[in-house]
Symmetry: C2
Subunit: 330 residues, 2 copies
């Protein structure tokens, strides 16, 4: 089944999204439906060389902007590209949704059109690079006020995702806190600690901020407020460090010569920490598969997100999430 | 008046602390009282060449370990070096305290021996490097469960600290959240937003994780749980990035040659992001001056912390904090 791709979202508009779908068709042979204003998408798409059987267009007249409030988007824009994309999944015409548009509206549409797994708070998970293998952080922004039981659900969903998608047996689950001892943390985290510790998960206890990038934990569980701040702080810090290092290097002739020689290493490093490699953040806990992409996504990021969406649908991830959550709740 | 320095704390024990005091005496002519076990401190101190008028020892028999619970340290270790250091301030024999020991115990002793400014939740502030001037983050660990009114107090204390110590007029105060709009954030942050916006502070609104290191904000306000995670995440990420970059560079001969040329730039950069430059984190809101140093502090970090403690005492920072808080509360 094709992946429904919201072609109107993202800071760069339809162009990178269309190109991303073309790349996914070419490189992986994945089918996609580009959802949005046909008069914009079709002429742009026609410039590319691709297998016509793999990419189609589903017309939708409205566009949700980055400024639209999620609830307004759901109620007032009845023919938006985001809504139409989720309707394709609801009607079993698509396997999954990829959107680089307004992430709040994408979540709201997912909940409105597909609904959530019973009793679950959907969460956004994101894959981050570390010194070893990438780590999954969950939640990075869907829920800003979480109960301890929500953190427990995130732990279960993170475990299923890492086992199924990243193919790791018995993922190490860590709870983000301010010290390793079980007495450390705020009330929410201390209570979540007891719930996760009492489960069958491979819980390694609290992890601190500095442990996230070491690579000794597979899933870092946190509430969406903390996770979103951590995610953006990491992006900002990585950019700043590279910027500061360049400034220091440019300040000296010798170092400039050195930089010419290290340039490839810098490039490989930047690729390693580039979010585009990981193809967006899955929204877990809804009745379907949806990948939320960075507004700044490149065509390569969209391509990778389409691949992830297609893979997750093929894995029947949602059934496995439901099973995991059901078993945990007895 | 001398600075009371807990000579028994820190991962490296008395050696770096004693050396740090010697360096502060030599470079800045600052007086210090080394507090702790005289039989350990005296022989070590005697190896250094320094002005004997500037450094003295105050004997205390007990040592608070990193593992001691703060409440136990206060109740059971009546002759600890941390307690004795704060007693020197209480008895007006020292201007301030510097400790690289158990930070929870240091806070607990500060509250027990000196007390807090009326109605205030003391908070730990830390200075972090950015692309422009350093930013103050407050709170980074003293309070894990904050009310909105506490965040407001942190904003006031951060404002006073940056004006007085960093000599910036009308510091830009930002509230750490997950979006710039005032509707973004968890309940705690949304309520704090209204309180700070209604004050005389130069409040620039919410700032996101990625804004912290840009340098366009002087004070980032957050609760101690979030702040502590951010602080440690930043440390861990900076270390990981440098490590990953080195790995990439070492993987290629050309790049290795380049690295030899960029080495100095790397060194300058590392110095720029080194916490040791900033000399520890002030504990604001107690009735006195105390600087909490990183357990891993080097002698240089201790030296800088002693300088900051001495400067803050000279500025009568505490009176100014009291005034700021008093005026804000009407």
């Amino acid at each position: 089944m094709p992946v429904a791709v919201d072609a109107m979202g993202g800071d760069h508009g339809h162009s990178v999204v269309v190109e991303g779908a073309v790349l996914a068709a070419r490189e992986f042979g994945i089918e996609a439906i580009l959802v949005g204003r046909e008069e914009v998408i079709a002429p742009f798409l026609s410039k590319f060389d691709y297998n016509k059987d793999l990419i189609s267009i589903k017309h939708a007249t409205q566009v949700v902007s980055m400024e639209d409030a999620p609830s307004d988007a759901v109620r007032k824009k009845k023919d938006s590209s985001i809504k139409a994309a989720f309707e394709l999944v609801r009607d079993r015409a698509a396997s999954s949704v990829v959107s680089a548009g307004n992430s709040g509206a994408t979540m709201a549409e997912a909940l409105f059109t597909l609904g959530r797994i019973k009793g679950v708070r959907p969460a956004i998970a994101t894959i981050m690079p570390t010194l070893k293998d990438p780590v999954l952080m969950i939640d990075v922004g869907a829920n800003v006020d979480c109960k301890p039981s929500h953190l427990y659900q995130f732990a279960i969903m993170g475990d299923v995702f890492v086992r199924e998608h990243l193919k790791r047996e018995s993922p190490a689950i860590g709870l983000l806190s301010i010290g390793e001892e079980d007495t450390k943390g705020n009330l929410q985290v201390k209570q979540a600690y007891d719930m996760i510790a009492g489960s069958n998960l491979n819980f390694i206890g609290n992890v601190e901020g500095r442990d996230v990038f070491k690579g000794d934990v597979d899933v870092v569980v946190c509430d969406g407020f903390v996770g979103n701040i951590c995610l953006k702080l990491s992006e900002g810090l990585a950019e700043s460090i590279i910027h500061m290092l360049r400034q220091e290097i440019e300040g000296s002739l010798m170092a400039s010569m050195g930089y010419a020689l290290t340039k490839k290493a810098f490039k490989r490093f930047k690729k390693k920490i580039d979010y585009a490699e990981y193809g967006g953040a899955p929204l877990l806990g809804i009745k379907g598969i949806a990948i939320i992409c960075h507004g700044r996504s490149t065509a390569r990021a969209i391509k990778n997100a389409i691949k992830v969406a297609n893979d997750l649908a093929g894995l029947r991830l949602n059934e496995k999430l439901e099973q995991g959550l059901y078993m945990a709740n007895g």
